[in-house]
Structures are given as C-alpha cells and as structure tokens.
C-alpha cells in the first residue's frame, strides 16, 4: 500500500517554544489514521505543521511522494490537503454557500467554476442541513452546522488528504455520531484519506484503521486501531476502562 502522507523527523515550534520533537507519521492511501493524546501533546500542532500554518517546522513532509515542506500554506492546500481547522475557521460574515464556494478555490483558483456546482450538490447531499441554511450568514449557524460547513468546505477542494482537528469538540453526542458516520462515508465514497485528531479516543478508534498516540511532542505508540484499543495504558488513560 502506498502512502499519501509520510513525515520524517517532523519538528515544530512556536517562536522559541518547541512542541514537536521529531515525529514520523504515515497515512496509507485511502485509510483513516487517528492522532490521539492528551491536551498539549501536540496533536493540533502536528496538523498545523503539515500545512505550515503558524508554526516553524523542520523535517520532511511528503504528500503522495512529493516533498511539501517549505511550501506556503496556500500551495499545500492547492496540492490537495483539505484542512478542517481547530475552531472550524468559518468565514462568519459570508453565507453558507459562499463558504463552500471558497473551498473550491484551492482547486479552481480565481477563474474556474467547473464542477463547483456539482461538488456543492454532493456536499449538500452529505449535509442536508447546510442546504437549508445555504443563504444564511455562516456566523449564525450552530456549532454542529459550522462543523459540517468546515468539512464541506474542505471537501469542495477535492482533497487527497483531509485533516480533521477535533470534529467532535463542543458538540452534542448525537451530532457527533452523525458527523462521524458521514466521515466514514466520505472516506469510502470519495476515496479521501483522513488524518483525524480527536480527544474522544473511543470514537476515533472506531473510525480509524491505524492510530498514533502522542505524548509531549513524541509518538509513544502506534499501530492498528485494534491493537491500540487493547493496549492497557491506553485503556486506562484514554478510554477510562
């Protein structure tokens, strides 16, 4: 199996504060990989490092065999990385539909419109609520709807790799459940590989094929989700069993 994402010795720092101390992560093509860990372990920073967003990085990052470290955030988006950021990154003053159209910018740039309407129809198919709210100012959407919008926006760019930062954060359990079901569908139907950061280890391990456990900026454990779930330390610390 070829890998869509491969990092080697990835380090990241905010100013002089080092957060990641050389991590190796691999996302096999078409799979879902979970990044687990406590607050401050470096999960969000890993996603930011992959997109060169707000952090300085060292080490290599390959997307589908091509080095993307050293490129700018917008170039990485154009290379096929869809990022659903921490805090959802909604364009609050624009409408739902405008938010989605912006998602296509990574693929079509400033001129193209081709396929945008069809992609949008597909996003509305996954998230009918967004269709109901399409003309509404995105700032007035509920937290769950904004999370759907963030995922939909990333999908509009037809990404090869989707980075999801805590999609369950602050949402009601039922909404979380439906969002995770849709992510599974997206992974299977769109053949999009997913790197998922999640506090809720139980949910994440259900969706993911493999998982990495981060502690203070290092990978301390990785393997198939089955094995991680059975690991005693993980069960105590992250699954509460």
């Amino acid at each position: 199996m070829t890998s869509i994402l491969q990092t080697r010795g990835l380090r990241a720092s905010y100013g002089s504060t080092k957060v990641l101390h050389g991590i190796d992560i691999e996302v096999p093509e078409g799979s879902v990989v979970a990044l687990l860990g406590a607050n401050g372990a470096g999960k969000t920073t890993t996603l930011r490092a992959l997109c060169q967003m707000m952090v300085r990085t060292e080490g290599s990052i390959e997307l589908g065999g091509q080095r993307i470290d050293g490129r700018s955030t917008e170039q990485i988006a154009k290379a096929g990385v869809g990022h659903v950021p921490d805090g959802r990154g909604t364009f609050l003053g624009l409408t739902t539909e405008e938010n989605l159209r912006l998602g296509a910018y990574a693929r079509t740039g400033r001129n193209g419109r081709d396929g945008v309407d069809a992609d949008m129809a597909r996003v509305y198919d996954y998230f009918p609520r967004l269709f109901e709210r399409r003309a509404q100012q995105a700032g007035t959407l509920s937290g769950g709807e904004q999370q759907m919008l963030a995922i939909g926006r990333a999908l509009m760019g037809r990404p090869r790799l989707l980075l999801l930062d805590e999609p369950s954060f602050g949402l009601a359990p039922l909404i979380v459940k439906s969002i995770f079901e849709i992510m599974r569908r997206i992974n299977q139907e769109e053949r999009v590989s997913i790197l998922l950061v999640e506090q809720n280890a139980r949910l994440a391990l259900q969706l993911a094929d493999t998982a990495y456990l981060l502690e203070t900026g290092r990978v301390v454990l990785h393997g198939p989700s089955e094995d991680i779930r059975r690991n005693d330390a993980v069960r105590k610390a992250y699954l509460g069993e």
Binding site: C51, M53, M54, S72, T73, E74, Q75, A77, K78, H83, P85, G89, T90, F91, L92, G93, L94, E98, R101, L102, G103, A104, Y105, A106, R107, T108, G109, R110, N111, G112, R113, Q137, G139, T140, L141, S142, G143, R153, G157
Partner: protein, 290 residues
C-alpha cells in the same frame, strides 16, 4: 426653491466624489482595519498623472483609462513595498507610515508638477445633450461615472470567485490560506482597486476644484465623514454616506454657516456619528454564535 434644488443637486454631484473616496477608504479598512490617510493624496497624484498624459497629447479617454491602470499599479506597489512590512506592527506605527505617505505624495506632486493651480478638463462638453438648467453636464456625468464604478465593483465582489476570495481574505486570513488563497496578493489587489477608484474620483473632482497638490485635502475629510456615517465596514454605507455628506455640506454651507467654515461641517458630522451611532447607518455588528 429653485436655488435650493440647485444646491441639493450640486451636493449630489460632489457627494458622488466623496462616495468614491469613502469607498476606497472602506476597501482598505475592511481588509486591514486601517484608514489610509494618504488615499486623498494618492488620488491627487493620479490626477496629475492624467494631466501629464493629456499634456503629452493623449486624448481624454485614453489618458483616463491609462491613469486608472497606472494608479492601480502604483497603489499595489505602495502596498507591497511600504505597507506589507508593517503588517504586524502596532496601529500607531502604521498611522505614522500613512501620514508619511501623505506628505511624500503631496511634496512629490508639488516638486514634479508645481504648486500653481491648473485647469483640468471635463470629458463632458458643457453643451452635451444631458446638460440641464439644474445640473451641468459635468455634474451629471460625474454622478454617472461614479455609479458605473460602484456597479462594476459590486458585481466584481458579489459574482466573481476572485471578488469572493478578496472578501474572504479580508475576513479571515488563516482560513483563507487553508482554502488556497494567497492573502498577501489579495491585499495588494485591494490597494490597487482603492488606488484606481481614487484616481477616478480625482479626475472627476479636478474640473470643479482645479488641480493642485492641495486638491484632495478637504475631499478626504468629507469622504472620511461619509464613510463613518455609512459605517466604516460597509461599502454600500460608505457610498450612501458620501452622498449624504455632499448634500449636507452644500446645503449647510449655503444656508447656515457660509462657505468659509463649511469644512468644519465634516468634523461636526464625524463627532456626531461617533457619539450617536458609532457603527454608522449600515455598519453591522457581526452576529455570531459561539
């Protein structure tokens, strides 16, 4: 009554100029949260460029469009070389840079073109078919051109992917980068557009106030008042505010305070708006849920 009507319509004509400059101010404010105090001087400088092109023998409309293009490039270069390095600096430092730009453009115009007052032609002959007893051809033509500029801009921001990307970059730079928008380039484009709009305003006001380096000083103040009245973050509000200020300035100047101190009308309006309705007429408080 007829005199009153005449003053009202003349106010609309100058109001159109204020509306354009106010719009240029708002465009830069929206994306950077700074007021470009040099906007008026840049517009004046653009008008001198147009004047030089016409002195060199270009026909009016050729000079008109060439000036728009040159002003766009000039403003974009100013953004790239002077403003961009300031993007993470404190607001007051940026204000000082703007004032520096104001002085530079003012002095450069005086040095290159001289301080003597020059005639600037209107593209609308005074015997044009649409000239009326109430409004001169130039006044009507200036309003017409202002409206064309506004409609074009509105359509650009509302209906094109690039316009949408510019609005996005102004709102949320981090998310914009994540969807592949080069935010720096959008800011540069915004400055370019503001410079081009200012150039049109300068060329429309110059036949009325005559061309010299001090031409835009008052205009900028009125435009600022207009932008505040309309709401400093609302393009439509800025336009509306510009027209309102134009009419008020003319009526109050004619009937209440006289022309000598009518510039203070702008200051009174600015203070009044800030006290009574700081968001302006159309400036919206962003509705958000957390």
């Amino acid at each position: 009554m007829e005199a009153f009507l005449h003053q009202l319509l003349a106010g609309l004509a100058t109001g159109g100029i204020y509306a354009s400059v106010a719009l240029a101010l708002v465009m830069i404010y929206q994306s950077t949260h700074h007021i470009n105090f040099a906007q008026g001087e840049m517009a004046m400088f653009s008008t001198f460029i147009a004047w030089s092109l016409m002195q060199a023998g270009l026909p009016y409309w050729a000079a008109f469009f060439a000036t728009i293009v040159l002003s766009f490039v000039l403003a974009a270069v100013v953004e790239f070389t002077v403003i961009r390095p300031m993007h993470d600096k404190p607001a007051l430092s940026v204000v000082v840079v703007f004032i520096g730009l104001l002085v530079i453009f003012h002095s450069m115009a005086g040095w290159l073109f001289g301080y003597t007052i020059k005639q600037f032609p209107s593209p609308f002959p005074s015997d044009a078919w649409f000239a009326t007893r109430m409004m001169s051809a130039h006044e009507l033509g200036a309003i017409g051109i202002t409206l064309v500029v506004l409609v074009l801009l509105f359509a650009f921001f509302r209906f094109t992917p690039l316009g949408l990307a510019m609005r996005a970059a102004a709102q949320n730079a981090a998310s914009s980068r994540l969807v592949g928008i080069n935010v720096g380039r959008m800011l540069m484009l915004g400055w370019g557009l503001a410079g081009a709009i200012g150039a049109v305003a300068g060329m429309m006001v110059a036949p009325v106030v005559f061309l010299d380096p001090n031409m835009m000083t008052g205009v900028l103040l009125y435009a600022f008042a207009g932008a505040l009245i309309g709401g400093i973050d609302s393009p439509l509000g800025a336009v509306l505010g510009g027209f309102i200020v134009g009419v008020l300035e003319n009526l109050i100047g004619t009937y209440v305070v006289g022309t000598e101190i009518k510039l203070s009308v702008a200051l009174v309006l600015i203070i009044g708006v800030l006290i009574v309705r700081p968001n302006g007429l159309m400036g919206r408080k962003l509705v958000t849920r957390v």
